[in-house]
Structure formats: structure tokens, C-alpha cells
């Protein structure tokens, strides 16, 4: 049975999107709502084992902006998207799924993924589980 909450599709792994993902995820859990995240597209490499430790992807044309943002986030003690998501899984029961289609295409298996990822699922499973949840696409 689907439970109301927030479902987020993260389809791009650029640095500013990952910040947004972390903030929206932590806020969802803070509000006591069920969170589901569907990882697809160019966000997938960040959800491979240790993928988050690799260099972030800066959106094209925004090098200066991202440098300023990175420095500003450090000043306001932003925890980092990976840590926020880990908190969401641990404290809020958030579920993180990776797109099965792209995983198949890229020969990625469950064992290759970050331990906080719950499973590889298809769009059908994600949509049914999301039910009447708010859906956000990043």
C-alpha cells in the first residue's frame, strides 16, 4: 500500500542539484513524511560505492558561481548531500532506489551501489509506491 509522502527523481548529478536533493530530503524527513528517491541519468555514478567521494560535476558555465556557493555552504556548515541522505535513511526510513533500466544498460548490479541504496527498481515499482506522494524531479 502506497504511503503519502515525497518522492524525488534525481536525474542529474551536478553539484547544485545534489545540494537541493540533500536539503529537500532532510526537510521531508524532518516533517515526518515518507521519502523515496529514484536515482537515474547522470546522477547514477554518485550512487555507486564511494561514488560520492569522486569529484563533483560543476554545471557547465557556472564554475565561478559554484566556487562561491561551495565556499558559502562551508561557512553555513552544510553537512553535504551524502551525509544528509544517510541521516534520512537511518533516522527517517527513507528509501533510495536506482533505475533498473539504466543499471542494466550500464551493467551495474546491486553490489556495485552505495550501501544506502535500497534496491534497483523499475519506474512501475517507484510510481506505484509513490502513490499520492508529492513528486519532485531534479
Amino acid at each position: 500500500m502506497a504511503e503519502k509522502g515525497v518522492s524525488i527523481v534525481i536525474s542529474s548529478g551536478t553539484e547544485e542539484k545534489m545540494v537541493m536533493l540533500g536539503v529537500l530530503s532532510q526537510t521531508t524527513v524532518n516533517l515526518g513524511m515518507q521519502l523515496r528517491i529514484f536515482v537515474t541519468g547522470t546522477a547514477i555514478p554518485l550512487f555507486l560505492k564511494d561514488g560520492y567521494k569522486k569529484h563533483s560535476v560543476v554545471p557547465a558555465g557556472f564554475d565561478g558561481f559554484m566556487k562561491d556557493l561551495r565556499e558559502g555552504l562551508a561557512k553555513v556548515k552544510f553537512e553535504g548531500w551524502h551525509e544528509l541522505l544517510q541521516n534520512c535513511v537511518k533516522d527517517g526510513g527513507a528509501k533510495i532506489y536506482v533505475c533498473s533500466l539504466m543499471s542494466s544498460a550500464l551493467n551495474i548490479q546491486k553490489k556495485d551501489l552505495d550501501p544506502m541504496v535500497d534496491d534497483l527498481v523499475g519506474a512501475t515499482s517507484f510510481m506505484i509506491q509513490s502513490g499520492e506522494s508529492q513528486l519532485m524531479v531534479l
Binding site: V23, N30, L31, G32, L73, K75, V76, K77, F78, E79
Partner: protein, 78 residues
């Protein structure tokens, strides 16, 4: 009745609410949480959170470079 003092100065969204919730989890009805924050969203976010969770937003005031936000815990289940 316990007063929880939460210093969230220097953190930004969603840090103050995350810190508030950590105190809230330890609290009981009748307790007070005083949140110090300088994120500009802290006051409206706390107000909205109180409305949603049926806790009491008891006010906010500017103290030097921060907001002092007072929440009365009212909706914890026994």
C-alpha cells in the same frame, strides 16, 4: 518542565529545524525549546512546523545577530 536551549547559529536550512527536532525528540509536553538561529528562514520555517505539528510557536525576537525562537512543546503523544 524542561527548557532546551538549541544553538543553531551558523547553520542554514534545514539545519535549524533539524537541530530543533533533535531537542523535540527528547522533550515532553509542557517543555520549552529555545532555538537560536541566524538563517533567515528559521522563523517562518519554525512557525510552519509548529502549525503542522500542533506545537505552540510562542514567539521570536532578534537577539544581536540571531533570532531567538521559542517553542512550547504541546503535541507529544503519551
Amino acid at each position: 518542565m524542561t527548557t532546551f536551549n538549541v544553538d543553531s547559529r551558523g547553520t542554514a536550512c534545514p539545519g535549524p529545524i533539524t537541530d530543533l527536532l533533535r531537542a523535540y525528540k527528547k522533550s515532553q509536553n509542557g517543555d520549552t525549546i529555545i532555538l537560536l538561529a541566524n538563517d533567515p528562514g528559521a522563523v517562518p520555517d519554525t512557525k510552519t512546523w509548529c502549525e503542522m505539528t500542533k506545537n505552540e510557536f510562542a514567539g521570536s525576537k532578534q537577539v544581536e545577530d540571531a533570532f531567538e525562537i521559542t517553542v512550547k512543546v504541546a503535541s507529544k503523544k503519551a
